[in-house]
């Protein structure tokens, strides 16, 4: 066959056909791909149900609960003590106020009944 009439385009075209011709996969190719896919989509381990937590976790939770409960009770007890103390202070203040006012009124009444050096503004006898 005389090749003197072949153009560079024909050579290029033939080269492309050779390269793009279907080829069978090398041996073991499919197995390698499947193995890699299994590794990538390996399922995550399921979380353990809470009632299957280790014993030390339950111990820590129980200890926290006990501290919280007793701490709350102690706080309430101290609040109550402080509150009662504050209440007592208020009652004492009111008592002293009342008795002081009463003493002043008694003094004024006594002075009004006797000649005295008292000077009062706006105090009316009942």
């Amino acid at each position: 066959m005389d090749n003197r009439n072949d153009t560079p385009i024909d050579d290029f075209e033939q080269h492309l056909r050779d390269q793009l011709a279907p080829r069978s996969a090398p041996a073991g190719f499919a197995d390698r791909v499947m193995a890699r896919a299994k590794v990538r989509v390996a399922p995550q381990p399921r979380p353990r149900p809470f009632f299957l937590l280790p014993l030390w976790s339950w111990t820590a939770v129980a200890a926290l609960l006990v501290v919280a409960v007793f701490g709350g009770i102690e706080h309430d007890r101290r609040q109550r003590i402080e509150g009662e103390r504050a209440r007592a202070q208020v009652l004492l203040a009111l008592r002293i106020t009342g008795t002081t006012l009463h003493d002043v009124q008694q003094k004024i009444s006594t002075e009004e009944n006797t000649p005295a050096h008292s000077e009062s503004t706006g105090f009316e006898k009942r």
Binding site: R80, E82, G83, E84, A86, R87, Q89, V90, L91, L92, A93, L94, R95, I96, T97, G98, T99, T100, L101, H102, D103, V104, Q105, K107, I108, S109, E111, A116, H117, S118, E119, S120, T121, G122, F123, E124, K125, R126
Partner: protein
């Protein structure tokens, strides 16, 4: 770029609320009479009682006044901003002077305070004073000073209080039940200067 002045100003404005709060707290802690006098009197007294209750303490205490008998007291303190009580008992007369009493009274001789009762004895050892603070026609404070030869009682109530309020608790908390005379203590007469000001120019 002038970052330093901006940073300084920012820090200054950020610190202002802190100092403002401290100043307000300091103001709130101040008693209406010089505390140094309280210390002096306490040093001379054989027995003394000091009760200082600000708004926070009154609020806190009211939560625990759920007894039936406490209802009236709870109602009184609900409106108050503070109650300050000082009582001193001395072994012998002469442990405080007239100057001490004048120093206490001086804080209530001006401003919105008006004397309601002024009782003076010959040797200033049996004096009594009641002052009331009036703001916009409403009583906003009461000061009671009762001086006896061997005892001195000082009561300062900050907030809306009337003598008839105290009558409501008479017979309770150890207060004599015949406190009915408190009803007759009249509020101070209106200030004519304020009245003229309200009338405006004519």
């Amino acid at each position: 770029m002038k970052i330093k002045p901006i940073l300084s100003l920012t820090l200054l404005f950020a610190a202002l609320p802190f100092f403002g709060a401290r100043f307000a707290a300091a103001q709130a802690d101040q008693l209406p009479f010089p505390d140094v006098l309280s210390k002096q009197l306490a040093a001379r007294a054989s027995n003394y009682t000091e009760v200082t209750l600000d708004r926070k303490m009154l609020d806190f205490a009211s939560h625990f006044m759920d007894n039936e008998n406490d209802a009236e007291g709870k109602r009184i303190i609900a409106k108050l901003r503070g109650i300050y009580v000082r009582t001193y008992e001395f072994d012998k007369p002469g442990e405080y002077t007239a100057a001490d009493l004048e120093q206490i009274r001086a804080h209530f001789e001006s401003g919105d305070w008006s004397p309601i009762v002024k009782s003076r004895s010959k040797n200033d050892t049996d004096d009594s004073d009641i002052y009331m603070k009036t703001v916009n026609g409403e009583i906003q404070g009461m000061f009671i000073l009762n001086a006896e030869p061997k005892e001195l009682d000082i009561v300062y109530i900050d907030g809306p209080i009337r003598p008839e309020d105290l009558e409501g608790i008479s017979g309770n908390f150890g207060i004599p039940s015949n406190l009915g005379g408190a009803k007759t203590i009249a509020p101070p007469p209106p200030n004519p200067m304020l009245q003229n000001r309200k009338a405006g120019p004519q």
